[in-house]
Amino acid sequence: MKVSVFGCELSGLVTAGALAQTGNRVVAMPIGVVKVEDLYQGVLPRDEPGLSQLIRSQVEEGGLVFEADWRAGVKHGEVLILSMPSWRLDRAEEVIKVIGECATGDVLVVNQSSFPIGTADRFEAQIKLAFAQRGLVAKVSVAAMPEFISEGSAIGDFTRPDRIVLGSRDEQSINRIKDLMRPFNRVTDQVKVMSTRAAEYTKYAVNALLATRISLVNELANNAEHFDIDMEEVRQGMGSDARIGFSYLYPGCGFGGPSFAADVKNLVGTLQSKGYDADLLKTVLSNNESQKEVLFRKAWRFFDTDLRGKKIAIWGLSFKPNTSTVENAPSIKTVEALAAQGATINAYDPKGVADFKKHYQGCSCIEYFEDMYQALEGADALFILTEWKSFWSPDYELMKSRMTTPVIFDGRNIYEPEVMKGLGFRYFGVGRGETI
């Protein structure tokens, strides 16, 4: 099939690469600052496991072409896929305009992006209007197929999805999209067909539920500390209840990232602007913002409200492991909070330093290290903000020898409190370890 993908961020590139791999002829077009030359050079906007190999191989085999001119994409594609970050609705509007102006026959648009509810219907009406004004008689169908990929596992999420949510009422469009997605839908039929609005809403609803679950677990964990309860034991007890399950049950220092938190924020924004209730979700978001400072608060109390001149090592800046992205990450708020109190920071992250420097142009009180142990030199405490694999089993003796005082604030609960105590660390987790 001839496919055009608008958007060359993570979701667009994964979509384009995976569809090319299954034999489609794909044209992918950037809609923002990403440049076609860079994409051909292998310079990708996201550092995602397996992505650069996928893109390189598909370009070499000729199934994937990058193109700057959207009109070429409109002419090429039997299916036109919109795959953009939620905040690029303005660019999507422009793409729709170009489709309305340049298309010469039937059009099938599939929107994967998290745009406001009703966007697919609106886009369809806009293209139809443009066609009518041009006197073009052709079929227009805009479907919604929200992406459910996560950074760090994006290719697998796309090629082996739990389900494919497909919003369309047009039989022909449904069949064509199902056919396009057939290679990723082989074991059992995973396609859930529904209205475009229901599909759009499903994406928001899933993220809203997950966000609520995380914030609730965090609140339970914070309070468990007051009663000297180890939240890990509680997590085991909760997760083994079949109605609850274990996923998204880990307490920690808050969720972040460019799409998950943003989706919930957008949903709240949409609901509020129309005067509908969003009380619970607003609380979820504000709880999460507060939770991003949970380690700061522990250190604040540990150091008797005086962090002036304290050196804090931070392991992990990215919002989760295996990504360089720091957008909305707890690291930003944590560093701001520490810096405002006059602490200095030694930061280490396997991938996130460059992105962090873009987001945080604060004071000169932060120093970046390429070695996780060097970052501990002279530190009064260590904050763990991201559960990178390399942090799980470190050289504890080396850590202690580098640190001024062996104090660990663990925002991801990656160590065992008893073990850390035995090793001579003061250890504070989220709902675990010592209580301050």
Partner: protein
């Protein structure tokens, strides 16, 4: 010999007797150019004083009186920081606070560095709180700030922050003033210890009202905060002229903001007492307010008396009070954001000029400060306007209104904004209509419906004088200009009356006797020195 037997005063008395006293405002308005001739504009503030029972001649005689009383010299003494507060041997340098180092001379210049240093410290605190980096004991950012203060340490910040309510602030502000504890008790139920910070604002740091509320606040914090150092260092700021007293209370030096005894309490919102204002609108917004006031200071110090806004307002009030025998003044803002403005001006004007002894200590034989009161105009229309229109009292009124509302887009087509625009126009229509009817009385009744008013009960005598002050909008700058205007016009009156507007001995004795009464309430055997009425009242309390 007092001013009442001076040449200029007698000239005014003669002028009054020669007929102006009998002239109705409606006849003065037969001159079509009157509104232009009797109004003045300064930057974003416009004053229409045409609806006063004055002529050009009245004004020139009043200016003569001002000259005779050496007003230009007094203005100069005030603005350069001479000891204009002679009963307390100090200057009154509120204008120096807002000079920002510019256009000042004398002592007022010499204090600029101190002022600047304190404002820098204040800016650091304000920025830390507003950015969410001032932390409570548990490490959460402070979200609510409670100003505990009374009088000048309460009313100015309360009035201004209420007026600027449409400006979004990251901090929720609250004010506690009353000694009885009700405000405190109610407020604390709604707040969280983790995220609440208190400002103890007291010029002397001995004010019992403030200290008793502060103790209640401290007890409330102690329920959850067990380290007393953390409790004070993270949850209390002190604002006072007495650093030693603040230290004694436990407030660390870095949490103290200081001002000076040459700042009168009712003039202290320009000092670090304005901390809640800066928390509301940011330090830049606070500086805009100072700059607005400074604009008025410069005008007051440099404009000729005939074209000097505070001078004209003050002199016309003197005319109304001492020659037309009007002993009441109503402050009537036509925007609910200015709700506390009447209370603020009541304090400013009556605490300054509510005196009957001149600078030499002699009893004066003329009227001084009138009774001032007021209310948001549209509400007052349903209350005491009846008296203004048909009572037996002559009352002078100040109508105050913003031309524009800045809390919605003027070009917006939304229905809500359309309604709000319409409401604003309605409020302005009422403002303009009321001053017109107060002035003209029956003459304002359209001919077509005159018949309906042909009964003594629907008779409107009119001839009530008023000023109308229009602000471009309600902003830090225009509020600064407005408050400075009233401060200076109050000073002008004091110069004519030869009284010291900067002391307030009248409020001292009550404080002293309250201490004795409190002692008697605690120990009823100490009741003997009191009169029978007070004894009875105390007994009813302690029985």
């Amino acid at each position: 010999m007092g001013v009442e037997s001076s040449k200029a005063w007698e000239a005014l008395q003669l002028h009054y007797e020669q007929g102006i006293g009998e002239v109705h405002l409606k006849s003065l308005f037969e001159d079509p150019d009157r509104a232009d001739a009797f109004s003045i504009e300064l930057d974003e503030l416009f004053l229409d004083y045409s609806k006063n029972r004055v002529t050009k001649e009245t004004l020139s005689l009043l200016v003569e009186l001002a000259k005779q009383q050496a007003l230009p010299d007094w203005i100069d003494r005030l603005l350069t920081g001479e000891q204009v507060n002679d009963t307390e041997n100090r200057p009154a340098m509120h204008a120096a606070l807002r000079a920002g180092g510019k256009d000042v001379k004398g002592v007022a210049l010499s204090v600029q560095a101190d002022i600047d240093a304190e404002f820098n410290k204040m800016a650091g605190i304000v920025n830390k709180i507003r950015s969410g980096h001032w932390r409570g004991y548990s490490g959460k950012p402070i979200t609510d700030v409670v100003n505990i203060g009374v009088g000048g340490s309460d009313l100015g910040p309360l009035m201004i922050t209420h007026a600027l309510q449409t400006i979004k602030s990251p901090i929720n502000l609250h004010f506690i003033s009353s000694i009885d504890g009700t405000q405190t008790s109610n407020l604390l139920k709604t707040l969280n210890q983790e995220t609440t910070l208190f400002i103890l604002a007291s010029k002397s740091f001995t004010t019992i009202d403030t200290l008793s509320n502060a103790e209640t606040a401290r007890d409330w914090l102690e329920e959850v905060v067990h380290d007393s150092n953390t409790l004070v260092s993270q949850h209390f700021l002190g604002v006072s002229t007495k650093p030693d007293m603040m230290s004694q209370w436990g407030i660390p030096e870095e949490n103290q903001l200081v001002f000076w005894d040459w700042v009168g309490g009712r003039y202290s919102l320009w000092s670090v007492i304005g901390l809640p204002i800066a928390l509301k609108v940011g330090m830049d917004g606070f500086k805009e307010m100072l700059a607005g006031a400074h604009l008025m200071d410069n005008h007051f110090g440099s404009a000729e008396l005939e074209k000097n806004m505070p001078v004209l307002m003050g002199l016309i009030d003197v005319w109304n009070i001492n020659f037309l025998d009007i002993q009441a003044k109503a402050i009537l803002p036509y925007d609910a954001r200015l709700r506390y403005l009447p209370s603020y001006f009541e304090q400013l004007v009556m605490e300054s000029n509510g005196k009957s002894v001149d600078r030499a200590g002699e009893k004066v034989s003329y009227k001084t400060c009138p009774i001032l009161w007021g209310e948001v105009g549209p509400n007052a229309q349903h209350a005491f306007y009846q008296l203004l229109h048909q009572g037996t009292q002559s009352v002078m009124c100040d109508f105050i209104a913003p031309i524009e509302r800045d809390d919605f887009d003027r070009n917006s087509v939304s229905e809500k904004d359309g309604s709000l625009r319409n409401q604003h126009e309605l409020a302005m229509a009422n403002c303009f209509a009321q001053s017109r009817v107060l002035m003209l009385g029956d003459a304002a009744i359209p001919d077509s419906i005159k018949e309906q008013f042909n009964t003594p009960f629907k008779h409107y005598p009119g001839n009530q004088p008023s000023n109308t002050i229009l602000l471009k909008t309600i902003s830090p700058k225009t509020l600064g200009m407005l408050v400075a205007l009233y401060e200076h016009k109050t000073f002008v009156e004091s110069v004519i009356w030869e009284i010291n507007p900067f002391d307030q001995w009248g409020v001292e004795l009550g404080k002293l006797i309250a201490k004795e009464a409190h002692a008697a309430i605690k120990d009823v055997t100490r009741i003997d020195g009191f009169d029978s009425s007070t004894q009875n009242l105390i007994k009813r309390l302690v029985k």
